[in-house]
Symmetry: D3
Subunit: 332 residues, 6 copies
Amino acid sequence: MRKIVTFGEIMMRLAVPGHARFVQAEQLEVTYGGGEANVSVAAAQLGLAAEHVTCFPDNDLGKAARGFYQKYGVGFENTPLRGERLGLYFLEVGAGMRPSRIVYDRFDSAFANLEPAWFDWKKIFQGAHWFHWTGITPAISANAASACQEAIVTAKEMGLRVSADVNYRRNLWRYGNTAQEVMPALVELCDTLVCTQGDAEDIFGIKSSSFEDMAQQMLERFSMLNTILATRRDTLSANHNRLTGLAYTHEGLLETPTYEINPIVDRIGGGDAFIGAYVFGLHHFDENQAQALHFATVASALKHLVPGDFFLGNVAEVEAVMAGETSGRLLR
Amino acid sequence: MRKIVTFGEIMMRLAVPGHARFVQAEQLEVTYGGGEANVSVAAAQLGLAAEHVTCFPDNDLGKAARGFYQKYGVGFENTPLRGERLGLYFLEVGAGMRPSRIVYDRFDSAFANLEPAWFDWKKIFQGAHWFHWTGITPAISANAASACQEAIVTAKEMGLRVSADVNYRRNLWRYGNTAQEVMPALVELCDTLVCTQGDAEDIFGIKSSSFEDMAQQMLERFSMLNTILATRRDTLSANHNRLTGLAYTHEGLLETPTYEINPIVDRIGGGDAFIGAYVFGLHHFDENQAQALHFATVASALKHLVPGDFFLGNVAEVEAVMAGETSGRLLR
Amino acid sequence: MRKIVTFGEIMMRLAVPGHARFVQAEQLEVTYGGGEANVSVAAAQLGLAAEHVTCFPDNDLGKAARGFYQKYGVGFENTPLRGERLGLYFLEVGAGMRPSRIVYDRFDSAFANLEPAWFDWKKIFQGAHWFHWTGITPAISANAASACQEAIVTAKEMGLRVSADVNYRRNLWRYGNTAQEVMPALVELCDTLVCTQGDAEDIFGIKSSSFEDMAQQMLERFSMLNTILATRRDTLSANHNRLTGLAYTHEGLLETPTYEINPIVDRIGGGDAFIGAYVFGLHHFDENQAQALHFATVASALKHLVPGDFFLGNVAEVEAVMAGETSGRLLR
Amino acid sequence: MRKIVTFGEIMMRLAVPGHARFVQAEQLEVTYGGGEANVSVAAAQLGLAAEHVTCFPDNDLGKAARGFYQKYGVGFENTPLRGERLGLYFLEVGAGMRPSRIVYDRFDSAFANLEPAWFDWKKIFQGAHWFHWTGITPAISANAASACQEAIVTAKEMGLRVSADVNYRRNLWRYGNTAQEVMPALVELCDTLVCTQGDAEDIFGIKSSSFEDMAQQMLERFSMLNTILATRRDTLSANHNRLTGLAYTHEGLLETPTYEINPIVDRIGGGDAFIGAYVFGLHHFDENQAQALHFATVASALKHLVPGDFFLGNVAEVEAVMAGETSGRLLR
Amino acid sequence: MRKIVTFGEIMMRLAVPGHARFVQAEQLEVTYGGGEANVSVAAAQLGLAAEHVTCFPDNDLGKAARGFYQKYGVGFENTPLRGERLGLYFLEVGAGMRPSRIVYDRFDSAFANLEPAWFDWKKIFQGAHWFHWTGITPAISANAASACQEAIVTAKEMGLRVSADVNYRRNLWRYGNTAQEVMPALVELCDTLVCTQGDAEDIFGIKSSSFEDMAQQMLERFSMLNTILATRRDTLSANHNRLTGLAYTHEGLLETPTYEINPIVDRIGGGDAFIGAYVFGLHHFDENQAQALHFATVASALKHLVPGDFFLGNVAEVEAVMAGETSGRLLR
Amino acid sequence: MRKIVTFGEIMMRLAVPGHARFVQAEQLEVTYGGGEANVSVAAAQLGLAAEHVTCFPDNDLGKAARGFYQKYGVGFENTPLRGERLGLYFLEVGAGMRPSRIVYDRFDSAFANLEPAWFDWKKIFQGAHWFHWTGITPAISANAASACQEAIVTAKEMGLRVSADVNYRRNLWRYGNTAQEVMPALVELCDTLVCTQGDAEDIFGIKSSSFEDMAQQMLERFSMLNTILATRRDTLSANHNRLTGLAYTHEGLLETPTYEINPIVDRIGGGDAFIGAYVFGLHHFDENQAQALHFATVASALKHLVPGDFFLGNVAEVEAVMAGETSGRLLR
């Protein structure tokens, strides 16, 4: 069985039930999430082996976060329990033209204070075929950035495929270095990148007229890159989106059918499901890009229809939608 | 007051709250349901006397199921508490293009193990004017099929009107006989049948080009039959359906306006509400088929807008919609 | 900081969770609401000082109602705790073409039995710039009508602006006098009125061909009136409405863009949010009627997207929608 | 099967969950209860036929109350749906030395406004062997008192046994007459009375040194009376009570063992369970007073260990405790 | 009306429902609490005017915390909304011999980063008669300690009475200074102190053989001090405590009866209720120390029987227990 | 790290919330449990590696059960997903003298229909040091008994220590063979046995005057046995038990202090925690029987204070109680 390894922070997510506002909340729903770890969940649900590497605080909340992911099949054999606090964020769920809102409380977390020496990447990557990281990790702290770099270099040396989700969040970069300084060297070693036109311009200074144009420039700029992925999301309202998958390789542009997502059950983690399903899809469809992209797009759309950050489902469910079964008819 | 009698199994329904998946469920919502008993609830809510006949296991779960129906006005004067287990099923509620799913766990139930001798149909039918059964009952066990046949024959002898919902579920027929062997003799004695083109072909070998064509052939084949009923459902998504009522009698085809059901609150029991409301409607509208059909279709549509298996409402509510009040404006 | 004063009854609202019917309810969600007090909440949320005047029963439920409003910034410095019962109403939430329904249980409340002498309006209005009342208050009892009249007269004498929401509910007027007898003298002293064509005809005998026509006649009839406000609501279903704001002044008719409200989270209090936000908007936009009306309409629409009777939000959120951000995109 | 008939008001009970105070409640738990109807539930659970007679308001809340009792086997064949409001009360649950508290809101209910002519007691009592009422009913209104008197007289004429729970609540008697004026004539016709020393003194002017003394005087005063019942409750805390059953007949005093109730799950309805189980017990134990009293006391104690107003259990459970099984050991 | 002012941090409290462990929690119950602010709630519930001074972060969580306290009658006229995060803590509720556990996450909060200049104590204390602070505040940051000192000095100058709860938490003092360095100068100006023998030794180096001995030494050491308060808690289990009030003044030692607290509903805030009720009690009983102490002790015991951090109740409830009504008998 | 392997069925547990009865349940709390698997959870929580071997049905419920255990650190590397149904049971929680009750619905489960050939015990036991089974497994079906026997024989051959919990449930043995026929051969190969006097007499015909007497006879009868374990439970009520640990080896009898369990949060799984903690304890205390027994008894007592079937806690928590900290004092 092929194995993916992911690296990044996991936070506690505290969501107001229903559509109430923060000030009304008497209870908060607890789940845990992290963009990279969510990729591992999707891959594990679909049938890959998956290990996530992170740093949990050495308290009951860290253990709770770990157990939450173990339930869905993700391993943590190389994750230390060290440090004081688990980053967290508060989520309020919008409706119609009222947006959902997030209040972050993630600074000074155990992950931000990790030491690169705690991670033996040679050991971690044994038996793995894919490594995935995101632009969130090098934004958190200098140490997190170093550990991420070591991981990428080691993965590449050991022959793993390396993917990243650029995911630029300006207000996270607080420790001194900027994304513009740090990211290019990290992206340099990747094969596969999820990137928007906006991120390409903000971080790499690449101005573009279209996804295709941007992707082409990126492939030229970063020689090891061979695939740029993205989803196009039409946000009709907080409850109704449309999703289309896009990929650009040296073979040119691929685009999937557009899927209606209505009503959205949970928006968070849609992009992570896309990547996890893409990694599985390449394997499942013998490296057929078009099928993998289609599979990933449908898995991402289905993720929006389940509460929590995770894609929870199986291959047959995704393939049924790919085959056109989008009516949601009751299955007895 | 006119009285309907129904016969069939009642199961515990364990539904995952909201749109969570089975693997996420920490709580399950308990209701009870059975296609035939649901017909009695609709009839009782609208104003008919209603008794359901079944077999409950002799334990607290059987009594809980009975109480659940008594609350809504259905009597159980002739139902034994005998046997070991209550059949049950698990329900996961979909959204958008993600279907709802049912996991059945109903074999070897108290109902499946009933003895025909436990039911004194002569006594049961005293004072009743209508008997309703479905194709689920003879599928469950040879004994259930026998009891059902005795009930139909006795009902007919005593002058009751007899209706059935064909409702073919191939994977239920496990005890040796097939629907093709058993059903024709049972349908032979019915006046009114709910039947789809697919069921007519699968069970009775009747190929047809339209509902009307099928219904015409059915009336020719089964001489006592005088009405074939159906609803046409357009499944736009798990949350959005459209419903139209259809009836075919010796007078020809009747078709109701089409009703939007959006958002669906609970899909289960929509067909049962249709039948219970039709039986009431015939009485209420002095046997006017068109009005009864319209009434039944609206009641079925309204059922989808209430949680649980049951039609819960009154005549005025149904008639308001029939009169065109479909805007859902707040009633103070 | 400008200050609004409102006067009227506050009731306990007991709502069935989800879309269940009354007969299914095992729990009821408790909030408190009153059309006039809800106006104070909206004004307080947006930044005005706000005091509500009412009469609570002298028991734990009265104190609970008071605390519920204090949480959202409304003061009750001049509200007695006297009398026996808190009026209440039961709410069942519809879906699609099934309407929401209210069962009132509000007679003989502490508010209905208030004594006008308990309220020292001179003291109450000190420091206030606006007084708002509705046609519900004079309907409740002769004493409530007297107190309301004293308040209006005093407010006018002290130079406050006075607004009213006509809000005619025929079945509330039980104590002997009719709306037709009582209301004209009260409206006589108002500057600003929320009024529909139907209410204008029923209470003031003004027949009209359009909102504009009605408003023009009202301004002619009541010499102090300078503004007639309304919202036009298209009720597509219990879940989907469209809302447009309307105002008529001596300058002529103003009309806002139309806003989609889909899915409606909570319909109650939409009109109250409109008024509270309008009062704030006049202040915020330096008496610009068009901007105040636009602001009020958006605030009202946003209110429908939050559970409970109250507008809960801030100025920036309303202005973002006014600026065209209606896609409900996640805010991190 | 023997049949008991009971007569009295049923109210909605709105209880704060857990041990929260009214001011904290965001949800209220809805059940329905009435002292007389609760007696019918206990009798029906244990195996008697049971019908309750009351007047429900003609709205969804009245129907919900009726369904709530039907679920547990109580019939309402002779109960009209007429009038406007359902009486209700709010319950806050104490702990330790903090008492539970009730806020009543029951005046002007549909039951208070009933017409005696709505009840055909000759028809109602057909097939019944026992009639039970309480001192609450004649306190509610002159009409309720009249209907109660007619019921008692008719029951006596038709040979039913008649029991009453004196249950004196001074602040309920608001309509003009007093308990001292009304009750003696009603008690005159009873066989069996639940009465405390305090009630005997307050209503009948009987001063006594002990339960036995009071009961002896009562039997002398009211010639048809043959049994005085009571439970002695030691209130150690809101969570811990001790209960002993007492009966006095012409044979003398009977007293049961004392039962520990710790922790109390729900205190309301304990006395009603005692009476319902006593009526069943007399039948079950062939009129053996000591056994019936013991059975009734255990049933009452067990009622405290179940949420809601009702005794929910069966004969075997009560008899197991009577036989000494008080350890609460898990039953697999 | 007399007015108390309190100063200190307010945190979000996230409690696991029931007795589940952190790792099991799918939901957390949200309340807000702070030792000083809880004192204001108790005082406000009992009838004093109360204002709390703190610093909330300028986000929805800060506003939610503020609203939570406003509901119970505490004012925040002088509290800025500045800074980034609200401190928080997680609570797991024990049972029997299993202790409750708290995981703190409170560093770097908005309160820790406050500027002393944001608080105009002269204005704040106008109209107030009492100021209360605790040893938590000077532990949080140098700035918090400075602001606290300014408040104490100003209060003293303006003639307010000043009380403090020593409440030594070694692991909070992280910013450089120690409690031993900071606290003596602050306590110097207080009249009334809550202090345990352990705290007296740890902070002031006062070794003692008994509460009385310690208190005597404290009064000698700090010349303005005139009252030392404490509660003696016997912890029999997580569910069962016993509580006794102690006070030492120049008149000597006072000790209240001992109160059983069983079962404990919520342990947090018991000490805060004691102080708030003591301040009210002095006023209510015309400075009678024995009565104020008794009142405070009962209020503290009753606080344990209500969920959340707050004393919620009224004077009559406390006085009923003082008068011996400890049986928890239902109040209708 | 040492590793324990356990083998047995896992069922879905559906528990009525609070103390409600089955007939009242609108929701059921879902957890999963199995006596043998619960032993693995306790061992994994305390720090051993743990794998459970079972057979789950190949549906979403089987996967949900697996995820539920994975969360707490138990592996399922050698467990097939085959068959149709997951056994389940319904639990109603008693109070005081009212017992908790279980309704089983476990026949014909996927586990009952397992094939012994699906389990490669040589592979399974690699790296393990302990194997644990119970008398439930050979009771379920002939195939389960065969698989269990193969496991025991293989474990013994490979040098693992083997323990069993006799746990005789007469009504489970339905497939033809009896416990008396099957169990002796299986117990023959065990080192360690949990056994009561009743079970020893019922299954092995050993009559005894005390635990010590029984244990001595057992050691004589089964030559490989070296330890008999038991807990003595005093059942004071459904909420209050006392627990004492007992062990008998060739060195004689060991007995621990008695621990109060009050209030019981969840009774199920107490014995499983005892065994899992004993296996860990032997390792942790270098085979010191007295310390291991003490540790196991405290862990079992603590298990009763947490909801669900599992011991959830750590070594420090158990050792704190062993050291005398039984007051349940709040840990900040």
